[in-house]
Amino acid sequence: MSKKTFRESINEAIKQEMRRDENVIVLGEDVAGGAGTKGDQDAWGGPMAVTKGLAPEFGRERVIDTPITESAIIGTAAGAALTGLRPIADLMFVDFMGVCFDQIFNQAGKFRYMFGGKAVTPLTIRTMYGGGLRAASQHSQCLYPIFTHIPGLKVVIPSNPYDAKGLFVQAVRDDDPVVFFEHKMMYDDEGEVPDELYTIPFGEANFTREGKDVALISMGRTVNLCNQVADEVKKDNISCSVLDLRTLSPLDEDSILEAVDETGRVIIVDESSPRCNVATDISALISDKAFSSLKAPIKMITPPHTPVPFSPALEDLYLPSADNIKKTISNILN
């Protein structure tokens, strides 16, 4: 056990899995960096240096820099997964899904079903999501609701370095296609992470705070916002539980219903665009299955229905904030 960043935690997960299983390969744009150049052959490790150090250890046969052709990247990974490898494909920004979504949702995600249960597609797609980097409308989206919508895909979204490693290892070992969401503002977040390999099963949400007045349900980066708020409102004698969903598909319905049962009041915090997102999904689940436990309207905190603005002044207003959560807490308590 030692302190590691989110970045190091994923890097270590990949390295250790590659050592353990020679079928694991990594491919994507500049996952090593430097292909065909005269300079450093481990120049980048992806734009956030998450895969740095892999090429020197495992060689370019297993750490493959590709052209900028996401359909071919994901499709190559999907085809390789279908025929015996366990590829980790790097989609870089999830905003780029628009040029390759077919290979994800119509190919990899449906092989097993279309082929009558005979295909196994152990594909992991790593991708970055979210705002805060002033990266503007085409590099700041969340989009995980879209992947969650698709039967056949699994959607994983860790909120801290410990979970990141355990969930990533599970993703690589999982026999279904998994889309692994990494918030681009979290790579430097630190936490205690075991040095050895471990897995966190999919479909098991995690109560990061216990509480009885209000349940805050969230995923990925905004879990930390919820934790912060839960800690802060304690001094006002408000007790919030925080439920970190960890995986959006499969979804841990039991823990969600438990959170509702214990509090009767729910706020769902979701950084994705508000229509047909995960917040609405959880809210609808609760209204359907735990209606009688509810003491107040189910509230959702999300950005507005607009693209992500570039200007720091606007982006800060756009993103869910602690203030907003606190205001909502006091509203539903009254």
């Binding site: 390789a80 190919q107 279309m114």
Partner: protein, 321 residues
């Protein structure tokens, strides 16, 4: 023509099986017995057979919406396929896939595909597996003239080129994408495109089984010798419409007649092997008869087979969820 007797018989059996299968589907669809969306491969048999006779069960193919021929050529069971088309539980995909999603991974058949251009990226993946694991296998992709324009095709050809993958892209140019002529939709030309992305590329007469077989043989050798991917531009014709139900008004009757009279790869094969004395007429007729019976049985068994039931609805989505 370096094929031995056994291989020639296999070729003829395969082409006849495809034709009989498609003719039967054509009839069953017209009668309303067969549901769904079906695209028939009749007329293109020399391509599937010419290519696939060079492959073993570990080599893979990725196919298209017009996939029955590729499946049969790669060794998929014709009865399991027919049951699949009828939506029956014993179908090759449990009735869940249907005509556009037939697959049999044990035969290296990675799936028909409802998405035009869906197969080329997957082919790179299979080829990458072979390269990584050094299995010495080859991954083949069938695609149409229409699909040759799709961006995924260009990307995949480039990927195969720069990674030197053991892959073969077989562009089956039947002159049409739906109701649109390839003369109209294909800017420049297909062989040049392959070359421009760094592939070995050549044009092949797809009515001539022997031409396809030879070109494929060389392409497979190149792939296995790590000499990189190949693109084959195979010129051929489809007998039926784009899909069943297509009135084919974009094609003049004389063109259809010409296709049936002069571009039928089965007739051409038959003439060649009998004229050259490689096989006898009677032998071929024997084959035709037995294949006909096989397909008739496939249809009647399919009609009698059971549909999947409610408990099948939720299975096969994930390995574990």
């Amino acid at each position: 023509m370096q094929l031995n007797r056994e291989e020639l018989i296999k070729a003829y059996q395969g082409m006849c099986r495809i034709r009989e299968f498609e003719d039967a589907v054509h009839e069953e669809f017209a009668s309303g017995a067969l549901p769904g969306f079906v695209h028939l491969y009749a007329g293109e048999e020399a391509s599937a057979m010419g290519i696939c006779l060079n492959l073993n069960d570990q080599d893979t193919i990725a196919s298209t919406h017009r996939g029955h021929g590729h499946c049969i050529a790669k060794g998929c069971d014709s009865k399991g396929m027919m049951k699949e088309l009828f939506g029956k539980k014993d179908g090759i995909c449990g009735g869940k896939g249907g005509s556009m999603h037939i697959a049999d991974l044990t035969k290296g058949m990675l799936g028909a595909n409802g998405i035009v251009g869906g197969g080329p990226p997957l082919t790179c993946g299979a080829a990458l597996t072979f390269k990584t694991k050094k299995t010495g296998n080859v991954a083949v992709c069938f695609l149409g003239d229409g699909a040759s324009n799709q961006g995924t095709t260009a990307e995949s050809i480039n990927m195969a080129s720069i990674l030197k993958l053991p892959a073969i892209f077989v562009v089956e140019d039947n002159g049409y994408a739906e109701a649109t002529s390839s003369d109209y939709s294909v800017g420049g030309n297909i062989v040049d495109r392959g070359k421009a992305y760094g592939l070995h590329a050549e044009k092949v007469d797809g009515t001539d089984f022997f031409a396809v077989h030879q070109a494929a043989k060389e392409a497979v050798e190149r792939a296995k010798n790590n000499e990189g991917p190949t693109l084959l531009h195979v010129k051929l014709s489809r007998v039926y419409g784009h899909y069943e139900g297509d009135a084919i008004t974009y094609r003049l009757d004389e063109e259809t007649k010409d296709i049936k009279d002069n571009k039928d790869p089965i007739k051409i094969f038959k003439r060649k092997v009998t004229e050259s004395g490689l096989l006898e007429e009677s032998q071929l007729e024997e084959i035709e008869k037995s294949i006909k019976k096989e397909i008739e049985e496939a249809v009647s068994e399919s009609k009698e087979a059971k549909y999947p039931v409610e408990s099948d609805l939720l299975t096969d989505v994930y390995v574990k969820y």
